[in-house]
Each structure stands twice: as C-alpha cells, then as structure tokens.
C-alpha cells in the first residue's frame, strides 16, 4: 500500500483544526481556531472558499450538503454546503461543544460538550433532541453506531460510554482513559470510531494502542498496535470500507492497520512532528487528509484500500513501500522506483537494523504459512548492505510476491513492512532555498530580498512577471520583466540580476543574467545547463556568479558570462551566498535523524589566490530546526538564522566557530510570530528583519516594513550588571572582528569606528574592573587587567590604590610591568628595524622588483598565520601612521596607486627587512625599571616577536598592491569626506587607536599624540631618512618662502610634488646621500626629541579632557610604575 505524503500547507491559525471530505470527495473541508471553515478543492488550492462560522470553530461534520459546526458561541450551527449560507442553529449548550458528528444516514447529529452533556438532534427538526447525561467531565468525542441504535462517547472523566439512544441510558461504561478536568488538559482527544458498514467494532484509542470492542457483547476483542508508535493516539478513523483503521498520534505519527490481520500497513510521520488532531478518509478510500494543532493541512495520497478486494496486477508492491518512502525522503526527484531499487532498498529501514531481534520479530509475526520466498527476501535484506549484485533480482522476486499478498490482507504476510527498527528516524532533508525568498508555491512572492533590493514574482492566471526594485535608486532604476521562462530563483547585486528556471522535459534549465552595470550595449546573457541538470541555488559575488545544480556541481561564471570554474559538492546544496570574493555553500552532509538536519558548510575565497577557508565543517543548528536564512553581514562575516530564530555569526578569531548573537523568537509577542531576516550589519550593530504576524514570511502586499533588532549574546546572568557588561564586551569584541578580516583581505576599513569600538571595549573593561573591585573579587580584577591595554592598566592601578587594595595594586603593577616590558622589547626592535632598513634602503628602493618577489614569498607564510590577524592589524596601523601623507591620499582615492607608489615602495621593505638583532637590543638603553632578569628573556621574546612580525609586512604590502582594493558597497562615508579637517581628524583617531592596540610604539609615539605636534614631523622622526627627506631639508626653506601660509602637511605635499618632478638621476643621488648620512643623523635626532618630549607631554595633558586623557596618557609607563612602587614602599 504505497502512499505519497504531500507537503503540509497552512490552513488555519494555530490550534485545534478539524478536517473532513464532502460526500463526493471533491472537497476537503477544514475548520480551525480562526473560526473559518475552508473548502479546498484540493491540497493545491491556493484560494479556498471560506465560511466564517464564529470566533472559533471547534468541530465540524458534513453530510448531505449540510455543514454542522460547533463554534465558540456555544451553539451547533448548520450551514449549507458549499454555498455557506447559515441554515439555523441546531442546538445550544452552556459552554462550547467539543465534537459534532453525523450518523451514517445524515439524519441526526450528535454533539458532545464541555458541559458534560451529549445531545442527539434530528437535523430536519431541531426540536427533537435527546440529551444523554451521565458523564462527569467534558465530553471528548462522540460517535454513532452505523445502525443508529447506539452512541459511544469518551469523556475527560476517563470513561468511554456506550449509550442506547432511544432510551437515553448508559449501556456500558468502560474506564479506559486518564482522568482530567478539561479538554485542554487532556493528553489525547480520544476520538472514537465505529466501524462503518458492518458496525461490528468500536475503535477506542487508548494510549498508544487502539482497542477494538465488539458491538453487542462490548467485549474487548483485539488491540491494534505498532512498535514504532509510542506516543498517545489522538484520533482514529475507519476507512469507508471498514477494513482499515487509521490513527493519528500526538507525536505526529500516522498509522494504518489492516483490521483483519491486525498488521500495520502504512506508517507515515508528520513532517514536523506536530500533533495530528483530526483525520478524514476520502470516500474512495485512496486518500487520508489530516490536520495538526498548528493549523496545517496534509494529505496522504495513493492509499489502496478500497480496491483491495479486486486483485491487482501490475502495481507497486507492498514490499517496496518503506523503500519508496525513504527514497522519497532522500531524493524527491526519482520517479523511477524500479530502476532505483538498489538505492531504495539500502535506505529502507527494514535493512538497517541488522540485528537478531529483528529476525525473531519477523518470524514471530509471520503468519502461519511462513512463506519461504519471503523469508529469503528477508534474509537477503539483511545481507543487502554488502551483497549488491545479488540483491536486485532477489528483491524483485520478493516484490512480485508481495504485490499479490499486499492486496489481500487476510493472507498477506506484510512482513517486510514490519520494520522492528526502533532507532532514530531520518529526517526529511530540507530543500534548497534562496535566502531572503518566500516559498515558491505562492502566487505573489519575494524571489529575494537582500541589502541591494527586492525581486518580486507575480504568477497570476493572467501574467507571470518579475519586478526588480532597488533600495538605492542610484544603483539602477526599477525593472519589470515578463517571466516567460518561468524563473523560480533569483539573486540581486549591485552589478546584475541573476535568474534561473528549472528544466522541463523539452527545455533545459536556464540561467539568465541581466548585467545592468555592463558598459557595452549587451546587458543580458543566458546559459543553458546540460540536459537533466537543474539549478538549485545561485548567488552573485563581486564580478562573478555561482550556480549550484542538481548534479551536485558548482559552476562559477564571470559576471560577463565566461565559465570560469566548476567543482563538485559533497552533497545536495541547501543554499549559497556570496559577498565580494567570498562564496559560502551549505549542503547536506548526511541524512539527519530525529528532526535534525546535518548540514555542512564550505567557505571559499576567490580573488587573486583562491582558497577554501572552511572545509565542509558541520553547521550547528538548534534542535530540530532547519536553516531559514544565510547571508553575509554588510561587512562580510557569514551569519545565518535557523527556524528557531537563533542568529549565529562566524567568529573568525576563535578558529571559525559560530557564535549565537541573537534569538529573534525572544522578541516575538506570540508563538506564531516570526522575524524574517533580510540583513545583518556589524557596524552599527543591526539585525534587519521584517516582523511577520502569524507566519514565517511576509506577504508582498501591503509592503512590509523593515525593523531593527539589537543583538544579544546568550551569556549567563545578563540580568545582573556584571553579566550585562560581559555581554557588551564580548559582543563588542565579536563585532569588531570584521575590522581585522577586512584589512587583512585588502579592503579599507572605517578607522573611526574601529577606534571607537576599541575605546568602548577598554571602557567596559574598566567598568568591569571597578565592579569586581567593589565585589572584592581581586583575582577577577587581575584577570580583567590582563585584557586591558597598558594605559588602562595604569588607570586600574590608580583605581585600586585609591580604593586601598594594595595587594591588588601590587599584582596589577606586575602586569603593567610585563606589558611595559613587552612594549620596551618591541620598541627598540622597531628602532633597530628602522636603522637596519635605512642602511639597506637604497638597494631596496632601487630593486623594488626584488622586494616584491620577497614579499610574495612572504605572503604564503602569512596565509598560514591566521591567528595573528590582530598583530597584523597593529602592523597595519603602524604602517598607516608611517606614511600618513600618502595614506590619506590613498584613502581618498584607493585606485590612484601610482600617485603614492614611490613612498610605498620605499616603505614596504622597511618592515620586511627588519630582523631582530639581539645585540642592538642590549645596546639601546633600557629603562632602569626593567630588571636584568626580564632582559634575558627579552632577547628570546624579541626573536619570536620579530619572527612573528616579519611576515606581517606581507599583508601590508599586499594591501598596497592588491588590485582588488575596492571599497565595499556600503561605505560612502570615508569617500565623501575628504577635507583637510577630516584628514587631521582621522589622523588623530588613528593615533588613538594605536595607543590602544599598539602599546609597542607607545612611549615613543606618545608625545606626538596630542594634535599640536605636527604630523609631518612625526613621520620624519620615525621614518628612516629617505632621499626625499634629505631633499626636503635642503629645500624646505624655498618652499616655505613660496607658501608662507601653508601648514606642515601642505608643505610636505608641495614638496612631494616638486620632488617628483626631479629627474631620476637627481633623485638617485639624493637617495645615495640618504644612505650615507642617515644613521648618525637619526641618533642625533632622537636625543633632541627626548628633550622635547617632556614639554610636549605637558601640553598634551593640559589639553586633553578627562576622556582622552585616559587614552592619551603619554608618560613613560614604566617610570610611572616605578614611582608608584616607590611610593608604596
């Protein structure tokens, strides 16, 4: 009895929902919590007729074109069917009726109510009522004896009572059920059913079994059960022929028994495991409609029960049934079952549990005949996992055998159907979807809603059209396309619209790209996929498009239509998203079990060096949920949402793990409300989504409005102050990860925002520190101090000493010392790096090609060291500072690399050539506070540090040379603001950043931090002398004479312009001079600077307000510390 489970569809709002067929079987009629009765012409009917019967409809019955409903106004009403005109009130109760039913002829209606009564009313004359009193609790269900003599009812008092209708008396009361006080508390609805036609048996669902009672004697004659059915049965119905009994359970199982043989012939599971609350058997017996407590309607099709008496020849065998089911689970496209038997058999649950128990079970259950061939089939099944070749023939044999037997239930040994397998069941793998789209069966739907725009699909009777609309009309104007090809999936980027349609028998699956940003006249291209290959998912990156197909392939096209790459995917694709150069693919790793999905994720990076960042690792999802959205944040961090509403984001700093950042369901008011996510921004932290009342996705009209949700990491005890601050800190750290990622992959970053977030983090740390101090948690204080930058530690020390925690202050000062030492180590090394490089500079700048070669070899090393992004960032910042003048220019126009290249070429080798020189470290005077002990370790530290550092110049160089140095789309800010004022502003903040991130150059650079110190001087001080600088020194006077009103930066700019106009020979000679005169000069300079330092510091301090003072603390920390230590002693 093979059957097909159709996908569920939304019918009513959440709550108890009932279903029945009309007499002809043409319509499915449902009623639900929303008070509507819907008349569906089939499961695919998208616009069912509906009749509103009240605020809520509790139950319905339909016969002879009369529709009887129990509604919330405590009445039982009649409506005509299918017109839906009210036809009077049949009866009333003091509370609502719980179940109504017709008798077999349709002349009477029985209704059970929460007021403990059962009424039997003549339909033609509602005054003729019989009331059956005797239940002591609300009535759960009622059923008529088909011969109209008796009526059975079940009640919350735990009894099942058979009444004599005429005498209105109880014939027998069976205490079978659990007692409860109300329907809403009842575990099971206990819908009784009387066998039609013969009226011999009364079926009573008792826990997970169905007990059959004989009419007349009221004896318990048999029990129907199924090993796989462990939940309570909610509802039972007889097939119209009376030979089969279907049961729906609380856990969503649907089971059909052959009553004569007492064998289970059909077993299905609700696709989401919701409680089945009503079942109805089609009059022809070939379909069962069922509803669940979430208001959804489902259908099992292709049951072959009514035809069971006629012998059936070339039909599908009962034996293949489970195979087919599971085959359908695994691959819904395979129609050719016979060809596919090998696969289906291995998937069938019959085979899976290859245990002795099963065999026993089978034997036990095998009817008396014990057919040998079947046995062979079973044995074969057991071996089938390893004997592939033999299996096919054998199975067919067995199947043929079952064809006959499955139909004649009495003789049928439905043995292969008894999968005594009680392990986890595989879940239906979720279908491929396009993130940001609404389901394809809707006539008006969103094909995609992303950060660029919206693509809508209208699929009416009249026309089939696609509307493309851009959020930002500056990208492109809106487009309206006729959808002649029947496109079902779409993606939209700043450059193009990508559409694809599935293939049909004649036509291949097509991919269409509207490349509207193309500068030539051809704005469109189309590609046919090979026959039999369908597009499942697609996405658009920057300059490329990717398509995942049913042949487990990923095809990469350029945006202009060139086929670039093709590779295979380990499993069926679920979805695919792209951002810039990154491509992320989610696919099915394996079948999931017990409602879980087993998804894998791959993250690839294209661009100059193609590589895979995430190698098919499992994707964590909430329990029993599926993926509902996947995408990149605007900053390029992958993130996703599962059906439970949990938003997770890739945490690149903890080895590409996934961190939950928000649970959208927490903000939902009602259980059925959802948020439909359309985008995520990390800076500012925004989760953009559309609130959907009572559904998972929004309708196209009225136009939904985007709402913004905040993020909240699910840390412990976020109600406490401590928890809150920890949450804020973790979130801030997590959401600033993208800065390092962006800069490492060559994008420009918003330095303002970065320094802001770092400032926030340090402030939070300080607050947490203060809180722990207050709570007398000194150990915790120290832990927190370890996270702080050196400047903040000094603040913390002051705080601790002021609050009289000397022990703490002592420990903190040790930490501060350590940090300071670290700085000290890095600083001389830096200096020496400079010295070193300045000596070698001429060769470096002269042979920039060689430098590049070295650099590229370094890049490979650097790839490995992903953990050190932070340091890389520091390095980056350092370099930024070093060529400030050029840097600002670069920020203004990232493409004009040529303008700045001379400076850069000389600079990049600077860091690169730098190698640790332990002797130099010792030589350069160490502050007295540092004891000799750390100094020894310093050398070692130094070496490792330098090793770490040296490859880091790779990315810096890369950044400069990277051809894809394009600004990300949503980043107009830095571009638009390029005034001088702004430049100095960013510079100042830039420096602030460094104070935080880069304690390395701290003492050295501090004095420069306050704005008065001219940036040009700084650059000069730190940067080893170049030929340009020598030239500048010589020519400064003439420049200042020419432009007396110019500031330092302008002078430098001017000078650079002039220097560039010099001939190559002249420049070379200056470089030569730089090489010779450099070292001595630098040393002199440093000494002079030391003197100036104090004065400048004072000035800076005076100027800085409270807040910036914290950041810009410019005293040498170690000397301060020593002073502190001294005081204490």
């Amino acid at each position: 009895m093979p059957c097909e489970r159709k996908p569920m569809r939304y019918g009513h709002s959440e709550g108890h929902t009932e279903v029945c067929f009309d007499d002809s079987g043409k319509y499915i009629v449902t009623c639900g919590n929303d008070g509507d009765v819907r008349i569906w012409e089939g499961l695919d009917d998208d616009e069912p007729k509906f009749i509103t019967v009240g605020e809520k409809a509790y139950s319905l019955a339909l016969k002879n074109n009369k529709l009887v409903t129990a509604s919330s106004n405590n009445t039982v009403q009649i409506h005509t069917f299918p017109d839906g005109d009210p036809d009077g009130i049949l009866t009333r109760f003091t509370t609502n009726a719980t179940h109504v039913t017709f008798n077999s002829s349709g002349s009477r209606v029985a209704a059970g109510s929460s007021d403990f009564m059962v009424k039997v009313v003549e339909v033609s004359d509602s005054s003729q009522q019989k009331t059956l009193r005797g239940h002591e609790a609300p009535v759960l269900s009622v059923t008529f004896d088909p011969k109209d003599d008796f009526l059975a009812s079940a009640s919350c008092d735990g009894s099942v009572v058979v009444w004599n209708i005429k005498e209105q008396s109880q014939l027998i009361s069976l205490p079978l059920l659990q007692k409860t006080n109300d329907i809403s508390n009842a575990k099971s609805l206990c819908r009784l059913a009387w066998q039609p036609v013969t009226a011999k048996l009364l079926a009573v669902p008792v826990e997970s079994k169905v007990q059959l009672y004989e009419r007349g004697s009221w004896d318990h004659v048999s029990t129907l059960s199924d090993d796989l059915l462990t939940q309570l049965i909610n509802v039972v119905v007889w097939s119209p022929c009376g030979k089969f009994l279907a049961a729906g359970s609380v856990g969503g199982s649907l089971t059909v028994w052959d009553v004569n043989s007492k064998l289970c012939v059909e077993r299905q599971k609700h696709e989401k495991g919701f409680t089945v609350c009503d079942l109805a058997w089609h009059p022809s017996g070939s379909q069962i409609a069922y509803t669940d407590t979430e208001g959804c309607l489902g259908l099992l099709d292709g049951l072959r029960t009514s035809t069971s008496n006629t012998t059936n020849t070339a039909t599908k065998a009962a034996g293949t049934k489970p195979g087919k089911d599971y085959d359908a689970l695994f691959d819904d496209d395979d129609d050719d079952r016979v060809m596919d038997e090998g696969l289906s058999d291995t998937n069938s649950p019959v085979k899976k549990p290859v245990t002795g128990d099963d065999e026993d079970d089978d034997d036990f259950l095998m009817p008396a005949t014990g057919r040998v061939r079947n046995r062979v089939a079973i044995l074969d099944d057991e071996n089938s996992l390893d004997t592939g070749s033999l299996k096919l023939g054998q199975d067919k044999f067995g199947d043929d055998d079952d064809t006959g037997s499955g139909i004649v239930p009495a003789a049928a040994p439905l043995v292969p159907l008894r999968p005594a397998y009680e392990g986890p069941m595989p879940t239906l793998p979720q279908k491929a979807f396009q993130p940001g789209s609404t389901p394809a069966h809707l006539t008006h739907r969103f094909m995609i809603w992303n950060s660029v725009g919206i693509v809508r699909d209208y699929n009416d009777d009249q026309d089939n059209a696609i509307d493309v609309e851009f959020h930002d009309t500056a990208v492109h104007h809106a487009m309206h396309l006729t959808n002649t090809l029947g496109h079902t999936v779409a993606d939209l980027s700043q450059e193009a619209v990508l559409l694809a349609c599935p293939g049909t028998d004649e036509l291949a699956s097509k991919l269409q790209c509207l490349h509207f940003s193309s500068w030539d006249t051809n704005k469109e291209w189309m590609v046919d996929l090979p026959q039999g290959e369908d597009v499942r998912a697609l996405c658009l990156g920057q300059g490329w498009a990717a398509v995942a197909t049913s042949a487990l392939m990923i095809r990469i096209f350029s945006i202009g239509g060139v086929q670039k790459e093709i590779f295979s995917l380990p499993g069926n694709v679920v979805c695919m998203v792209a951002h810039g150069e990154q491509l992320l693919i989610v696919y099915h790793r394996a079948p999931g079990f017990d409602g879980e999905q087993a998804l894998g994720v791959q993250l690839l990076q294209f661009g100059r060096r193609k590589r895979q960042l995430i190698h098919g690792e499992p994707l964590p999802l909430s329990h029993r949920s599926y993926l509902s959205w996947f995408g990149f944040t605007a900053e390029g961090t992958p993130s996703y949402v599962d059906s439970e509403g949990v938003v997770r984001m890739l945490n690149r700093s903890v080895g590409n793990t996934w961190t939950p950042v928000c649970n959208t369901r927490e903000t939902c008011k009602s259980k059925s409300d959802h948020y439909w996510v359309v985008g995520i921004h990390e800076n500012p932290q925004q989760l953009r989504c559309i609130p959907c009342k009572g559904s998972r996705y929004p309708p196209t009209l009225p136009r939904p409005a985007v709402a913004i949700l905040p993020f909240k990491l699910p840390l412990c005890q976020t109600s406490t102050e401590k928890g809150q601050m920890e949450e804020q800190f973790c979130r801030s750290v997590l959401f600033s990860n993208h800065f390092s990622f962006l800069s490492s992959s060559g994008y420009e970053i918003d330095e303002d925002a970065q320094s802001q977030s770092q400032k926030n983090q340090q402030e939070l740390l300080m607050k947490m520190f203060a809180l722990s101090c207050k709570l007398e948690r000194e150990f915790r204080c120290v832990e927190l101090a370890e996270l702080m930058t050196q400047n903040v530690v000094t603040l913390a020390i002051r705080y601790a000493s002021r609050s009289r925690r000397m022990a703490l202050a002592q420990r903190l000062s040790e930490i501060a010392l350590e940090k300071a030492n670290l700085i000290q180590e890095e600083m001389p090394e830096e200096e020496e790096e400079q010295d070193y490089s300045s000596v070698r500079r001429p060769s470096g700048s002269g042979q920039s090609e060689a430098a590049q070669g070295r650099q590229s070899s370094r890049r490979y090393q650097e790839e490995e060291e992903e953990q050190e992004e932070e340091q890389r960032e520091e390095e980056e910042g350092q370099e930024m500072e070093m060529d400030e003048a050029s840097e600002t220019k670069k920020r203004m126009n990232p493409f004009a690399k040529d303008a700045v290249s001379p400076v850069k070429i000389t600079l990049t080798p600077t860091n690169k050539v730098g190698r640790a020189n332990p002797f130099k470290v010792l030589g350069s005077g160490k502050p007295s506070s540092a004891s000799s002990q750390p100094r020894v370790t310093n050398i070692l530290d130094n070496m490792t540090a330098s090793r770490k550092l040296s490859p880091l110049s790779g990315p810096a160089g890369k950044q400069n040379k990277n051809p894809v140095l394009k600004p990300l789309a949503p980043r107009p800010k830095t571009k638009t603001q390029s005034t001088l004022l702004q430049m100095s502003g960013t510079k100042a903040s830039n420096k602030k950043t460094q104070v935080n991130t880069l304690p390395a150059a701290d003492t050295h650079k501090q004095p420069e931090a306050p704005p008065p110190a001219s940036p040009a001087d700084n650059t000069e001080n730190k940067r080893p002398k170049t030929g340009f600088q020598f030239w500048l020194e010589e020519n400064r006077k003439s420049i200042t004479a020419d432009h007396p009103d110019h500031e330092e930066t302008d002078i430098i700019k001017e000078a650079m312009g002039r220097f560039r106009t010099l001939s190559t020979e002249e420049r070379l000679s200056w470089t030569e001079r730089a090489k010779n005169g450099d070292t001595a000069d630098l040393k002199k300079r440093k000494r002079a600077e030391g003197g100036a330092e104090g004065a400048e510091t004072e000035k800076g301090q005076a100027e800085a307000d409270e807040n910036s003072a914290k950041k810009k603390k410019s005293l040498d920390p170690s000397s301060k510390l020593s002073a502190f230590a001294f005081n204490k002693n």
Binding site: S451, G453, F470, H471, D472, T473, A474, Q686, R688, P702, R703, A705, V706, A707, I708, P970, P972, K973, T976, Q977
Partner: protein, 186 residues
C-alpha cells in the same frame, strides 16, 4: 493664529520614511537627522519627508494610528462619549491631510482613512460647538475642555472670542445706570 501656522507646527512631527538613497547624518539646528540607508526606515520631520517624497526619494511609512481599524475604533468611541476622547496625535488632522495629499500611494486604504479622520474631526467640532453653545447659554465664567488639539482650538477661537466680546458689550450696555453706559453718553 492661522491654520497654515498650525500646519507649519505640525510639520515638526516625525514620521518614518524608507529612503531610496544613501546619505550620512545631516546636522541641522533642530537636531541631527539620519543617517539615511536605502531600504532602512528612519525618523524624519514631516516637512523633510514630504519634500523627499515629492522628489521621489523615499516612501513614507504611515504612523501606526493611521490604520482603518484603529480609526474606526476611535471614531466609535468619539461618537459614544460626550466629552473629547484622546486623539492619536496632537496633529492628527494636519498629518492626515499632509500625508494623504502627498503620499497617498504609500498609505493603504487612503480614502477610507480620509473619511474616518474627517468623521472624527466632524464629531469633535460638533461637540465643540455644542459646548460653546452651552457655555454661553448657561452664562458660565469658565469651562474646562480636555484633549483638544491645537487645530480645533484654532478653529473655534476666532469665533468664540469675538462672540464673547460682543456678548460682553451687549450685556454691559444692557444694564441701566451702569457707569459704562453713562460714560458713553458723554
């Protein structure tokens, strides 16, 4: 005060718009506006919203109360009560007028909303007239009216003040032997 002045004041109310352009925060005397991100709702004053709308730079999101169901409820309540009921916005009439005139395509069921707001307005003005009438006829010295909007006060002000002045004049002249009456004889 002129009705147009009241309308001018109403334009300071904020309304949500969905811009279709990108712009950084703009700093105005009245406060900072933005940043504007395409597709993301942002609160702006009505004057700016209408300006942007007319230039087809945004879609206006109608305020929450501008909804047929809510207005119907409000209208019924207004009709049921003898006193003035609280209104959804102190500038409900002006906002409805402005938004429906310039952005009716962004507001679902614009016509129904227009009718409903007009109904509410009419009911309230009728109440106002009635109370003015009883105020005068009962020769009260003062009366308290809650939940009146500026526009409503404005419509009745000119009439009420003038008529009260006239009444006062008439009454003070009526009394024989009053000093004022004699004074005029001079």
């Amino acid at each position: 005060m002129d009705a147009s002045e009241v309308e001018f004041l109403a334009e300071k109310e904020t309304v949500k718009i969905i811009p279709n352009f990108s712009l950084d925060k703009i700093y105005l005397i009245g406060g900072d506006l933005g940043p504007f991100n395409p597709g993301l709702p942002v609160d702006v004053p009505v004057w700016l919203a209408l300006n942007l709308k007319q230039r087809q730079k945004c879609r206006i999101v109608p305020p929450a109360w501008m909804d047929v169901d809510k207005l119907e409820e409000m209208r019924d309540l207004e009709r049921k009560e003898d006193t003035f009921t609280p209104v959804p916005s102190p500038y409900y009439m002006e906002l409805t007028k402005l938004l429906l005139n310039y952005a009716s395509d962004n507001i679902p069921k614009a016509d129904e909303i227009r009718t409903l707001v007009k109904d509410i307005w009419d009911t309230r003005i009728a109440k106002l007239r009635l109370s003015a009438d009883s105020f005068i006829s009962q020769l009260e010295a003062h009366a308290k009216l809650d939940n009146l909007t500026l526009m409503e006060i404005n419509t009745i002000r000119a009439f009420l003040l003038d008529s009260l002045n006239c009444m006062y004049k008439l009454r003070s002249n009526q009394q024989p032997g009053s000093s004022k009456g004699q004074f005029t004889d001079f």
